[in-house]
Structures are given as structure tokens and as C-alpha cells.
């Protein structure tokens, strides 16, 4: 009987040790797996933030009259290409700058003709606001896109408000810049 108890104790000890070894191995592998995924995600997050901060502070795209940064020059943006972006900020990026234009308050018109004219003007403004800027349509445009957005690839996006200096009329308009960083196959 005493011998059986000793064997039982020994068995329990062996099982416990094996369980602990198994637990530690699973924990280590699981940790490694999770850690590498979260590290990659953190790297992408921090890279996208870095690109965004660099872009809005870069003298290459900012208007020289505004020293504080975040006032992008529309003429500079129009001549800039994806290759320029890659040279400045690296590969695997997608950048979009979209203007926000002032629209009329059409509800204040009681006359139907005036109101319809107002709606038409707002539609024209919206068309310009959403038009991609190229040398042919400049300055009647409000969107600048650099490099292709890849739908098959996981991307991390960051957006902040900025200003656009409209060189032709010397006005500063409101806009948003969105930076997408490619993270790998989804």
C-alpha cells in the first residue's frame, strides 16, 4: 500500500511537471506569435504617424510664407509625383489630400429660382472640390493623390486637418491629409 502511494505521488509529480513544461512551451510560442504580430502593427502605426508628421512639416510641400508648417502649397502638390513621395518618405505609401470648400447656405433663399441657382453653384463647387488635380485642370481642383491604394493589402490610415495655400488667388483653404501605410498581404 505504501509503495502504491509512493508510485502515485511520483506519477502526479511527473504529470504536473509535464503539464508545466507544456504550459510554458505553449505560453512562449503564443507570446512570440502575438508579440511579432503586435510589434509589426505598432511599427506600422508609428511609421504612418512619422510619415504624416514629416509630410505636414516638410518644406518640399509647404508654402514658404507659412513657417509653422501644415500649410501645403497647391502648386507644389500638383507637380509632385509618386516617385517624389517615395524618395522623400519611403515606399509602400498612399497619400491623399482633399480640400474642404465653403458652400452657400441655400436655405436662406425664399425665392425658388434663387435657391435653385444656389444649389447649382454648390454642385459646381463640389465638382471642383472632388476633382483630382493635374496640370491640365489646375487650379480648378481640390484633390491630390499620390501612389496607388492597394485593396488586397492591409493598410493603416491616419488623417489630420491641414491648410492648402491656393497660389492663384492667395487664399488659404481647409483640407485633410490621409496617409496610408501598406502593412502586407491581408
Amino acid at each position: 500500500m505504501k509503495g502504491q502511494v509512493a508510485v502515485m505521488e511520483y506519477l502526479v509529480l511527473v504529470v504536473m511537471t509535464m503539464f508545466v513544461i507544456f504550459f510554458v512551451v505553449v505560453l512562449l510560442f503564443g507570446y512570440q506569435f502575438l508579440q511579432s504580430g503586435s510589434e509589426r502593427s505598432k511599427d506600422l502605426e508609428s511609421h504612418s504617424l512619422f510619415v504624416l508628421q514629416s509630410m505636414i512639416a516638410s518644406p518640399v510641400v509647404n508654402n514658404p510664407q507659412h513657417q509653422k508648417g501644415s500649410v501645403l502649397d497647391d502648386a507644389k502638390l500638383t507637380v509632385m509625383t509618386c516617385e517624389d513621395v517615395e524618395v522623400l518618405f519611403g515606399h509602400g505609401l498612399w497619400i491623399r489630400i482633399s480640400s474642404i470648400y465653403e458652400k452657400h447656405d441655400c436655405e436662406k433663399y425664399t425665392n425658388a429660382i434663387e435657391r435653385n441657382t444656389c444649389y447649382q453653384e454648390n454642385a459646381d463647387i463640389e465638382a471642383i472640390e472632388n476633382r483630382e488635380c493635374t496640370g491640365q485642370v489646375y487650379p480648378d481642383c481640390g484633390v491630390w493623390t499620390f501612389c496607388g491604394e492597394e485593396r488586397s493589402v492591409r493598410m493603416i490610415y491616419r488623417s489630420v486637418p491641414v491648410n492648402i495655400y491656393r497660389k492663384m488667388d492667395g487664399m488659404v483653404s481647409l483640407a485633410t491629409i490621409t496617409v496610408g501605410v501598406k502593412g502586407g498581404e491581408s
Binding site: 505521488e9 509529480l13 505598432k42 504617424l49 508628421q53 489630420v160 486637418p161 488659404v172 483653404s173 481647409l174
Partner: protein, 150 residues
Amino acid sequence: MKGQTSMLAIVIAMILILFIVIFMLTGMFSDDETANMKTQQRDLYANNLLLSLLSTDTSEGTFSDMLKDEYFGGGTAFGEMAPVFIKATLNATGNTDYDWLIEAEPKDFVGVVKQWGNPAVTEKPGYWDARTVVTWGGNQLEVKLYIRTK
């Protein structure tokens, strides 16, 4: 033998506790890093929203001029136009669930605090803010923007 088993059981339990503590600590540090990045992004967003809005030209002048006019009782354009532009900016950046409040008060003399937006934003903790100073002549107006998720 029984004593040895107990000793080993204690050692194994200690190893397990040690592992769990290490895991919890590493988890805490990684959360710290993520939180720090989130704060940086929020600060950048709030600062840029406030500064970009105030610098924007409209048919009524810059928002900064409109704010000064409205603060001293001369106009209503800031209160009418700022919400429209802020809403459009929040929508364009995918932050449709943000609530905001703008406050203005004199920096160099005692005056009233004027607010635009939702005053409930600062009622509970969890908001983030940006501030700047609008100057004209010899006077200064401190403008603060508060943002929080709804």
C-alpha cells in the same frame, strides 16, 4: 518522498506565478507604448484642427478674424460657419463620432469666456485639447479646442 513532492509542487507554482507576472508586466509596457502613440496622434489632430480652422480664408475673412468679431459682439459668422467646417473636417477624416467645443477668453485682461459647440465636452474627463493665441493690435485672445468621442 512526500516532502520532496511538496517542495517540487511549490517550485512549479512559483515558476508559474513568475511567468504570469512577467507576461502581465510586458503587456503593461506594450499598452503604454500604444497609449503614447494614441496621445501623439490626438494632440496632432486637435492642434491641426484648431490652427487650420483659424487660418482658413472664407468669404467673410479668416476664421480667426470672425472669431475676434464675434467675441467682441460685432458678428455671428464664426458661430454659423465654424460648425459646418468642423463637421466637414471630422467627416472627411472619418471621425464622425467626435464632439467638440471651442472656448475663447482674453489672455491679458479679465473677460467672459465665450463658447461654441457642445459645452458638455468638458464636463467629464476623457477629452483632449489644443490651444493657441490670436493676437490683434496689442491684445491677445486665448482660443481652446476640446474634443472627445460622443
